[in-house]
Amino acid sequence: MLVKPKKNFLQRFYLVEVIKGLGITMRNLLFAPSVTIQYPEERRKYSERFRGMHYIKATNGVENCTACMLCPTVCPAECIHIEAGERPDKEKYPVKFEIDVLRCCFCGMCEEACPKDAIKLSTIYEMSQTTRQVYEKDFLLEQRGNK
């Protein structure tokens, strides 16, 4: 229901209200601090749980991933592609680990599903590219966070 607030004569006369409004804007100009973040110099501080660019955690230079295929299974966007292989010591490892970041919806379910703490989402959010990039394994192995 549309409720029209009752206005007294001064409010309907409008001129007084205009002057009050001018006062409010001038108060904002003089006293209110600016909320602008000057981007390249200042950056917004996001939470530690922010889900940004992916990386694969490595221990002693070897990736934690054992190519168990849980993350491509749980991925709702089906953007993770893993080809498994075997190391000389019979350890399973991903020969190929690709994330099609254009399809990724950054839900973080891969991170939750991973039993080896391997795939992680960092706090990096500047991910724009001039090409349609698929994140290769070498790219993902850069350690981008401390999760």
Partner: protein, 366 residues
């Protein structure tokens, strides 16, 4: 045989200075508007180029000049190209009669600080100012676009409605100073008010006879009408960003668009000078400084002129800022509200003002 004397060169210099001021109003005001609006809204605004972002306007101008200037296929080409010029030229012409300082005697001739000393003053301003709407209507019509046409229509009806109360509100001033000559009006405002209604004020009370003090109703009507005339918020219906995209200049790009912007800011400048001249004492206000500086003779005269110009442009600057300030404070009116205000409030108010002024003049209260 023509021999250029000091008077001749001063006249040339006067033209040059005035043209420079008018041309540089647009870039400076573009910066003021962007920074001002940002600060009013708790933002920063353009601050990267030059000190405080002052050179942003130069970059904008360069961008406007080097941008491609496409002419849409569906427009009426002649009028489409003519419209920006038609809206800009009247804005420039109006300033010609506004006195920005009093006169000085050079080589036995009176040198007045005003481009054209017309005896029809105010009438000239109104006749030229009403030409400005043609540019907007031309732009709206020749663009062959529904939104542009709507913008042109709105501006024509709005301008006509408000020009009525604009003209009528100034009648009060004309009656009070019994002249349409802008120099006489400004000179009249230098005197002190001796009469408050039927009561005489004491001699020692230095209240200047500024238009705003003897014509308060007229001033409010004039101020509102001039906002509508310059198409500034809260009366920017011809542009109406959220309703008709950009209104009359929807189909324009690059330098043609920037000519419309220049016309808007120049109109603002002329409007501010008009408010200053008619209601805020023109170049009066800083004469008391003259007693503080120890100069004599011709130097004293020139100091007086400089002070008068400073007073005038300070007042104009305040009103320019006032235009920006109001723009970012008040929301746009609905169209029927604009028409209601124009015809049902402003017109009766200005007529009533004329009546009261006539009574006051008849009984010698003014």
């Amino acid at each position: 045989m023509f021999e250029p004397n000091l008077y001749f060169w001063l006249t040339i210099a006067k033209f040059a200075v005035i043209m420079t001021i008018i041309l540089s109003v647009a870039p400076v005001m573009a910066w003021v508007e962007r920074r001002g609006s940002a600060l009013l809204q708790n933002r920063l605004g353009p601050n990267r180029i030059g000190p405080f972002g002052l050179f942003q306007s130069i970059c904008d101008a360069i961008k406007f000049m080097f941008k491609e200037d496409p002419v849409p296929g569906h427009v009426s080409k002649f009028y489409y190209s003519l419209a920006p010029v038609v809206s800009l030229v009247p804005a420039f012409m109006t300033f010609a009669v506004i006195p920005f300082a009093s006169s000085i005697e050079i080589d036995g001739r009176i040198f007045s600080f005003q481009l054209a000393n017309l005896n029809v003053g105010i009438l000239y301003i109104f006749s030229i100012a009403s030409l400005g709407v043609y540019g907007i209507i031309m732009a709206g019509w020749s663009s062959n676009n529904k939104y542009a046409l709507l913008g042109g229509l709105r501006s024509s009806s709005q301008m006509i409605s408000y020009e009525l109360s604009l003209g009528l509100s100034v009648i009060g001033i004309v009656m009070a100073f019994s002249s349409v000559h802008l120099n006489d009006i400004v000179a009249g405002q230098g005197e002190a008010i001796r009469q408050l209604g039927p009561w005489a004020l004491p001699e020692w009370l230095p209240i200047p006879k500024w238009g705003v003090l003897i014509q308060p109703i007229g001033f409010i009507v004039f101020l509102t009408a001039i906002f509508a005339e310059t198409n500034r918020l809260p009366f920017d219906l011809p542009e109406g960003e959220s309703e008709i995209i950009a209104g009359y200049h929807l189909e324009y790009g690059s330098m043609k668009f920037s000519l419309f912007m220049m016309a808007e800011y120049t109109n603002m400048f002329v409007a501010s000078s008009l408010i200053t001249t008619l209601y805020f004492g023109g170049w009066h206000g800083l004469h008391w400084v003259l007693n503080l500086v120890p100069v004599e003779g011709l130097a004293r005269e020139w100091t007086r002129i400089v002070l008068e110009m400073a007073a005038f442009f300070l007042k104009v600057g305040f009103f320019m800022w006032f235009f920006v300030w109001v723009r970012w404070t008040l929301p746009r009116f609905r169209y029927d509200q604009v028409m209601d205000l124009g015809w049902k409030v402003m017109l009766p108010l200005s007529l009533g003002n004329i009546f009261i002024t006539a009574l006051a003049v008849y009984y010698g209260w003014m």
